[in-house]
Symmetry: C2
Subunit: 348 residues, 2 copies
């Protein structure tokens, strides 16, 4: 055993409001030894952790959710990429690259082999982090919402919130490739420029544009057919009031409300438009779709386009496990620029 | 020409707030003569007018809707049943019973033949008013929402708002016939008793039950799979907070908000649940479904069940065209009990 291991532990649950640095502890712990492995276990060296908005729900302590809450005293966990250091499982050998949705936020940890999936470590043009990025969960979220649920059609107009984010940047590119007119909202001028570089037709900075209602009206005088919603709150309300007949809303997250308290929560005024404009709102959680045929369609289309250079994907890498808590807090403030991952170690 | 004709004319549009009796005029006008018919026209004697919540939108003067606004100075119009008094159309002869979505609110009026559909006048067990009731538009609205959109499954739990109303009473019975557990909300103790008589498992008076949240929680401790929403407002919000995973909401109307002003409108707090509970909200307008195969399925199933006595349908008949404006205003206050129709004349 060595003491080079580090983990991120939750101190307390945060039912509402903004989490703070003191809610987490970065602590040195022993590295699990190879000899401590029980049968069918794998010792993993972490390379990347995925850092995602849905973590907010897991910090809240609620039992009434689609995903289990983090437990105070335990390390955080989520999607990650790592390499096998040692294995008592017939399925994995030292050097394999693996992913799982239950990566502990530790430099080294032990996993049962059943939780792990092997991923190719030598595909030309695809790096380990890409399995959290362009081929990762948020990117698949974009695909399912746009293609599978909303059934985007050429000539339609789509509004994409958080358009430079992990989900939004993929929505923008998939929508353009399908012949839609794309309007993006982003939270800084740099992000606006990036979304324009992805091919969006109109992009606005929602923090500085003035009236959101007027801005959307000007960008889409005829209204919008699809609203891809990551953020909830006022922009969702404006989108509701801007829907065309038979509009669809993909609702995969409402990050603007995750840290809201009962006092600061935004209340929706325009939901009546779902009736008068015959709108369907699809709330969904991406974990329900990995076992469906649409997952293979996504991997095929997106990996092919990515290798050909027809899709870009912006990762926002934060380096070092010690910086993981701040990286997560910043995500809730929109300080990431692209899909946030935390790099723990180099592959070699 | 005689002066026995009467019509209901709109005086002014009412963009928001509650319409009043002074917004309508009951006026005596000349009865159109048979000799004034142009080719392919039909002189109709009105028997029944349908009186529906969606009229509120048509009173508002908005141009941004799925249905045209009423025009001040013109008579109201909507779904009706009548008999042919005279015809220059090869499709209709004197004595035919006809329906149309563009019945003028007049005792006698002229229609182009293209707007009219003949209906059987002698089907055993089906009266003319039943074409506005058990086989009418609100009843079809129930069928589409429950069966076609929400795909109700045996063993699921459904909450039905306005459960004694034109749509709700049909939802309750169709849901029970499909093996769902049915919870109904209604606005008076008489209505509660009626909904219970239709087979609903739990029915509450939303005006006197105290906390809606607690009442729904007690009625459905495990939550609800389907919410059939006619009313919007607070009950929709409570339903959103009570949805189970993969819940569905059929949103065909929000009558509680139709007379709301910006100051009195209810704002929705719990829309975030569509994401966390993976809920789909289907906003729809029934006129889009008459040309689909589901219309024939509805007519076949419901007329068969009705003739066998397996479905009841409560009509709320108001007598006399002079009372039509008050009948409409009362509808917005929930003073109807069942599907409101205005009886203009006997068939013979």
């Amino acid at each position: 055993m060595t003491s080079s291991n580090v983990r991120i532990k939750l101190v307390r649950t945060i039912p509402s409001g903004s989490p703070a640095l003191e809610d987490f502890v970065v602590e040195a712990v022993d590295t699990p030894s190879e000899s401590s492995l029980e049968p069918n276990q794998v010792l993993i060296r972490s390379l990347y952790f995925s850092c995602d908005p849905y973590f907010r729900g897991r910090l809240s302590g609620t039992k009434d959710s689609y995903v289990s809450s983090f437990i105070p005293g335990n390390p955080l966990e989520g999607r990650g990429i790592g390499t096998v250091e040692a294995s008592t499982s017939p399925k994995f050998i030292k050097g394999d690259m693996v992913t799982s949705a239950a990566f502990k936020w530790e430099k080294y940890f032990i996993s049962s082999d059943g939780a792990l999936t092997k991923i190719p470590s030598n595909t030309a043009g695809i790096s380990p982090a890409d399995y959290l990025g362009v081929l990762g969960m948020p990117s698949f979220t974009a695909y399912v919402g746009l293609v599978f649920l909303c059934k985007a059609q050429p000539g339609e107009t789509i509004l994409v919130s958080a358009a430079s984010g992990a989900v939004g940047q993929m929505v923008v590119q998939l929508a353009k490739a399908r012949g839609l007119r794309v309007i993006g909202a982003a939270g800084s001028d740099d992000k606006v420029d990036f979304v324009k570089s992805l091919g969006a037709d109109v992009v606005f900075n929602y923090k500085t544009c003035g009236s959101l209602q007027e801005t959307v009206k000007k960008a889409a005088p005829q209204g919008i057919d699809i609203y891809f919603d990551n953020v909830g709150g006022e922009l969702l309300d404006v989108a509701l009031s801007s829907m065309r007949f038979f509009g669809r809303i993909a609702a995969c997250g409402m990050i603007s409300q995750y840290n809201a308290t009962p006092e600061t929560a935004y209340h929706i005024k325009n939901l009546g438009n779902v009736v008068t404009k015959k709108v369907t709102i699809y709330g969904y959680i991406i974990s329900d779709y990995f076992a469906k045929p649409v997952y293979k369609e996504f991997i095929d289309e997106v990996s092919s386009k990515f290798k050909k250079g027809d899709i870009q994907y912006r990762l926002d890498e934060v380096f070092g496990i010690e910086n993981a808590p701040q990286a997560l807090l910043d995500l809730f403030e929109g300080k990431n620029f692209g899909k946030r991952v935390i790099k723990i170690a180099d592959i070699a």
